[in-house]
């Protein structure tokens, strides 16, 4: 278990360079950021491109189906438990690495333009680099603890970045909320780890997997472990009921939303489940829970998304909804499909966010869609790329989203018709509100003030370049996972096959679906998407419908627009009682009971003293009387009671 052998693999250097580069970038920016000025942005971007290059190197050099453990040090140990600081390089982590460093570097590039005028420019990049570092640790670690470091680290960076504009207390609240909600999940994660330590004496993925296999299918231990892990996942990946932080997290600068709250961090949960696929496969009940939670989240968020007017909020709910979809996939044991959707989603959601950022940039900070409209004419590149992203997310072939989503729906159809129905409905809603977004923003005429109108301009190249690249990816990324009806080589599935091989052995393989059935499903999905797009077109372009002002919203719409009052409910059910409890503890228990008890003892002691003091009357006659009396009593007791 203790790997102290010096690694000689040729992958060693690039592997450790991947996290080290962003870390280096972080230190440079944190320590010398002020002096570097805008160069810090370029440095931060450069190190990420370096990391991306290293990831590519790994991708190219790792033999197919192989995996490599790179041990940096024997981090610590206690009792018989050894926790190495080691990296696991296998297709799954490489996939994530590529996504993180690739999209990450694009977003960095974009941020140079986006944050150009911000006074915290270098600070922003140091945070971003730090985030990337932790995210890389998360996906590269060969055990749960390293993963947990990354897990908490990204939470921290998310906190720092959401509250980046710290003068605004609402933003700070959002940041704090994100951190705390994540921590709730983290507790679950930690308990899960404890159980693993307890039963398997290790946190290494391979050891845990072997241990779990020994315990066998449906073992309660594994069910508990996976359930606790899933609690962690719920926090990080914004699933019901711990999703409320994600929409609020939009308070951060838009590149942050793109990077952290769309492309990378929130998918950590999916990565984690995929990483522990064997455990989850052994726990069918947990999978059911995941499926239900995922589906519910998907639907719930999609519904809320319908009524949002903040451009980023819409995207945020769409992210939650898409994440739910991914979890539904995982819950059905379709890990590759989930991962596939992670990848494609990363592209188009990052694209959408960056596009939204570009819009906001153009609008000078305005985020409310009701004040937009007709922007397509002014910012063409943004419009075009944004449209690509929207089409991709809506599941229109041959864009990336179609393939990954279709795969999941197909699995769902096989698994359970009801789930399929619900997920399809959620996709339909997605298509609707995404196009609602596009129409409200880009088509018809401008609804804002003239002042803003003059300000509207296309973003600089540092921002449009990433948009274009991401748009390209959003178009082509789907081809790595063509459905069986088109091609028999599912590149993505094959690449990850080795990771999920064990699960495939455990899980009862579903029967191969007939091609005709698949065609029907594809047809249905596309039709539904098109219908909702048409409906949106009819409503927002033809009728030029503009959502009502907040105070005019009534009835169910109001409930939906207010996100089903979930925040308020949480506030009443959890936050307020805890605050009340806090006061209660302090005032009643601490001051009144415990302290009073202490004081009461002191007081009583004092009072006894006061009472006894009265014996000392000052009258010598009384003294002698008392002496004689006590003498008599003592004599009597001594002589007659005992002898």
């Amino acid at each position: 278990m203790t790997q102290t052998i010096i690694q000689t693999s040729n992958l060693y250097l690039p592997t450790i360079l991947i996290p080290l580069l962003p870390l280096l970038g972080f230190f440079i920016n944190a320590l010398f950021g002020k002096k570097l000025g805008h160069a810090s942005g370029w440095i931060a971007t450069a190190v990420l491109f370096g990391a991306f290059a290293c990831s590519l190197f790994l991708f190219l050099n790792l033999p197919t189906g192989g995996s490599e453990t790179i041990t940096i040090s024997n981090w610590f140990y206690f009792k018989n438990i050894f926790i190495p600081f080691a990296f696991l390089i296998d297709p799954l982590s490489i996939t994530m690495l590529l996504v993180i460093t690739g999209i990450g570097s694009l977003i960095h590039l974009y941020s140079i333009g986006y944050m150009h005028h911000d006074e915290g420019f270098s600070r922003f990049f140091s945070y971003l680099n730090l985030f990337i570092f932790f995210m890389l640790l998360l996906v590269m670690g060969n055990n749960y603890l390293i993963m947990f470091i990354g897990w908490e680290g990204v939470g921290l960076c998310s906190y720092l970045l959401i509250g980046f504009w710290f003068k605004n207390q609402a933003f700070n609240d959002a940041a704090k909320k994100a951190f705390i909600m994540n921590r709730i999940g983290d507790l679950g994660f930690i308990i899960g780890m404890f159980m693993m330590l307890f039963y398997f004496n290790s946190l290494n993925f391979d050891v845990v997997t072997i241990g779990a296999l020994k315990l066998g299918m449906g073992n309660m231990t594994i069910i508990y472990i996976t359930l606790f892990l899933f609690v962690g996942v719920m926090g990080k990946s914004a699933q019901l009921p711990l999703y409320t932080w994600l929409p609020d997290a939009m308070a951060g600068p838009t590149p942050v939303s793109a990077l952290i709250h769309a492309a990378t961090m929130v998918t950590a949960g999916i990565y984690m489940i995929a990483r522990s696929n064997v455990l989850f496969s052994l726990a069918p009940h947990t999978l059911d829970v995941i499926l239900i939670v995922g589906t519910a989240t998907s639907l719930f968020a999609a519904v809320i998304g319908l009524k949002q007017n903040d451009i980023k909020k819409v995207l945020a709910y769409s992210t939650v909804s898409q994440l739910g979809l991914m979890f539904a996939a995982l819950g059905m044991g379709a890990y590759e499909s989930g991962m596939f959707h992670v990848v494609t989603h990363a592209f188009f959601k990052a694209l959408l966010f960056l596009g939204a950022g570009s819009v906001i940039h153009a609008m000078g900070g305005e985020q409310d869609m009701r004040n937009m409209g007709g922007l397509g004419k002014f910012i063409k590149i943004t419009f075009a790329t944004f449209l690509i992203g929207t089409v991709a997310i809506s599941g229109i072939p041959p864009f990336a989203g179609f393939f990954s989503k279709d795969e999941i729906l197909a699995t769902a159809f096989e698994h359970n018709k009801v789930i399929w129905g619900l997920l399809s409905f959620s996709s339909m809603l997605t298509a609707f509100y995404m196009f609602r977004l596009v129409y409200l923003t880009f088509s018809s005429s401008f609804r804002g003030t003239d002042e803003v109108k003059h300000h509207i301009h296309e973003s600089p190249a540092t921002m449009t370049m990433p948009l274009i690249i991401l748009a390209a990816c959003a178009i082509i990324a789907g081809f790595i996972g063509l459905p069986t009806i088109i091609s028999h080589t599912h590149l993505f599935k094959n690449y990850l096959a080795s990771v999920f091989a064990q699960s495939k052995l455990i899980m009862p393989a579903g029967h191969e679906m007939s091609h005709s059935m698949e065609w029907i499903l594809v047809g249905t999905a596309v039709t539904l998407a098109l219908v909702s797009i048409a409906f949106a077109y009819q409503k927002y372009v033809m009728q030029k419908h503009v959502p009502a002002a907040d105070e005019n919203v009534k009835g169910i719409s109001k409930v939906v627009a207010n996100k089903f009052y979930v925040d308020e409910i949480y506030n009443t059910v959890f936050v307020k009682p805890i605050m009340l409890l806090s006061d209660l503890f302090l005032v009643v228990v601490d001051k009144l009971i415990v302290d009073l008890l202490v004081h009461a003892i002191a007081f009583i002691t004092n009072q006894i003293g006061r009472a006894l003091r009265l014996l000392q009357t000052g009258h010598v006659g009384f003294y002698m009387f008392a002496m004689v009396i006590s003498m008599i009593i003592l004599l009597a007791v001594q002589i007659f009671v005992v002898i």
Binding site: G609, L612, L615, Q616, Y623, M624, M627, S630, L635, V637
Partner: protein, 460 residues
């Protein structure tokens, strides 16, 4: 034996000094004389001897306690120089000095007596001198009252002592403590009831002398009313002498009969601990506070008496020494402050920490030592006594003692708090040289005993 004779001579010298008009040099000479006697006293160390047909025995016990007593008197005499400064006092200074030295004679008899007659005379010499000294501020009603209360109750208690002695004489036919001891050993399992009653009456009288509850009533009033210096003397020398005599009496004459007095001693010990500490909590007058504190200390020392089967004399001595030096330091400082502020209330100490940090530090250390906090001597005394009591199986009493120590800390701290956190009064405090000397010596001794308590544990 020689110690006693020399001391008596020194007392006589004090009287003669008046005649030869040596008033100015009186105190230095007396102090010097006591210092010489102190060193002469050491000669009897490890030379146990009996003198005057079994009236007096020199033993290490008596030598050690005599040394302590002489030291205390030395300090008191040094303090007396700057204490008796009024014209009235000046006139009587040689009388006072002589009586003080005679008090010491009484104490010395109480350490080395080997006969009930000597015990009785020792106690009476000590007491009668003190009745006088307590009432020596004869124009102050408080002092009168103190002297008279002490006198009345003291002679009342003496009568019980005598009745006890008489009964024991009746049974054993001797006044020699060894003789009584022989009788007690011979009849340990079947003691004559007369003997027991005699013993109990003597114990009552001794409990009175050591100011143990419920015979403690005289102590607070007398301590408060007596001149401060005499209070210092009473709370140190007198208490220690009484305890030493008590210890010797019980350990030689009654050790195997103590089972018949166990309830009395236990109840008295517990009551002393509690009453001393609890009532002290409510005191505002510093001297009265120290009086109650003295009562509580009597409780701790009674613990040593109760467990004397295990020969706790070393522990008792260590405790006495630690208690004495701390008390003396406290009184030296208190007298200085009383003079400066004109009040004996604790509030007189307010702001002393700012006015005179050295005095405040000294008093703090004295208080901590009295409270029994390491590394001061007071702690070790307590520790050894507790340890001995525990060894002899008095766990419950030790526990009670621990509880009462906790209570005790509170009122000692009250003084410290007053010194450091209350706003200062308008006064100037400047101890004279002799007081500074005494304070420093006593505090240093307290620490030294605290660091090397081992010197004392196997002493006796």
């Amino acid at each position: 034996m020689n110690t006693l004779i020399y001391t008596a001579c020194l007392g006589l010298f004090g009287l003669l000094a008046e005649i030869f008009n040596l008033r100015k040099y009186l105190i230095p000479i007396m102090v010097l004389g006591l210092a010489v006697i102190f060193s002469l006293n050491l000669q009897t160390w490890n030379h146990p001897e009996t003198h005057f047909n079994g009236m007096l025995t020199d033993s290490n016990f008596s030598t050690a306690f005599s040394g302590l007593a002489i030291f205390i008197m030395l300090i008191i005499l040094i303090l007396a120089g700057d204490f008796y400064t009024s014209s009235d006092d000046e006139k009587h200074i040689s009388d006072y000095m002589a009586i003080l030295v005679f008090t010491l004679c009484g104490a010395l008899m109480m350490f080395s007596y080997a006969n009930m007659a000597m015990l009785f005379l020792g106690i009476e010499t000590l007491s009668i001198s003190l009745y006088v000294m307590a009432g020596s501020r004869r124009f102050e009603v408080k002092s009168n009252e103190a002297g008279f209360k002490y006198f009345l109750m003291g002679s009342f208690a003496s009568a019980f002592l005598l009745f006890g002695i008489a009964l024991i004489f009746g049974v054993t036919g001797t006044f020699s403590i060894d003789g009584i001891g022989v009788y007690m050993r011979a009849h340990a399992d079947q003691l004559d009831p007369l003997f027991i009653v005699g013993m109990l009456l003597m114990i009552f009288a001794m409990l009175f002398k050591v100011s143990a509850a419920p015979f403690h009533f005289w102590a607070p009033d007398v301590y408060e009313g007596a001149p401060s210096l005499i209070t210092a003397l009473m709370s140190t020398l007198v208490k220690i002498a009484a305890f030493a005599a008590f210890y010797k009496l019980l350990s030689v004459c009654f050790v195997f009969a103590l089972g018949k007095a166990e309830i009395i001693l236990t109840v008295s010990c517990a009551a002393t601990l509690l009453i001393g500490n609890l009532v002290a909590l409510t005191q505002d007058n510093f001297k009265r506070l120290l009086a109650y504190s003295g009562i509580s200390h009597a409780g701790y020392m009674l613990l040593a008496i109760i467990s004397l089967q295990g020969s706790t004399d070393s522990a008792l001595f260590l405790y006495s020494a630690g208690y004495a030096v701390a008390s003396l330091a406290a009184f030296a400082i208190a007298i200085t402050v009383f003079k400066a502020t004109g009040t004996e209330s604790i509030s007189g100490f307010n702001g002393l920490g700012k006015k005179n940090p050295m005095l405040a530090a000294g008093l703090s250390m004295a208080m901590l030592s009295l409270a029994g906090i390491p590394p001061f001597a007071g702690f070790f005394g307590k520790y050894f006594i507790f340890s001995e009591a525990m060894r002899n199986g008095y766990q419950n009493l030790v526990f009670l003692a621990i509880i009462s120590s906790i209570i005790g800390v509170f009122y000692y701290m009250k003084v410290i708090v007053a010194m450091y956190s209350k706003p200062a009064n308008e006064f100037e405090v400047k101890p004279t040289f002799s007081y500074q000397l005494v304070i420093i010596v006593c505090i240093l001794l307290s620490i030294i005993i605290g660091v090397f308590p081992g010197l004392f544990t196997k002493l006796l």
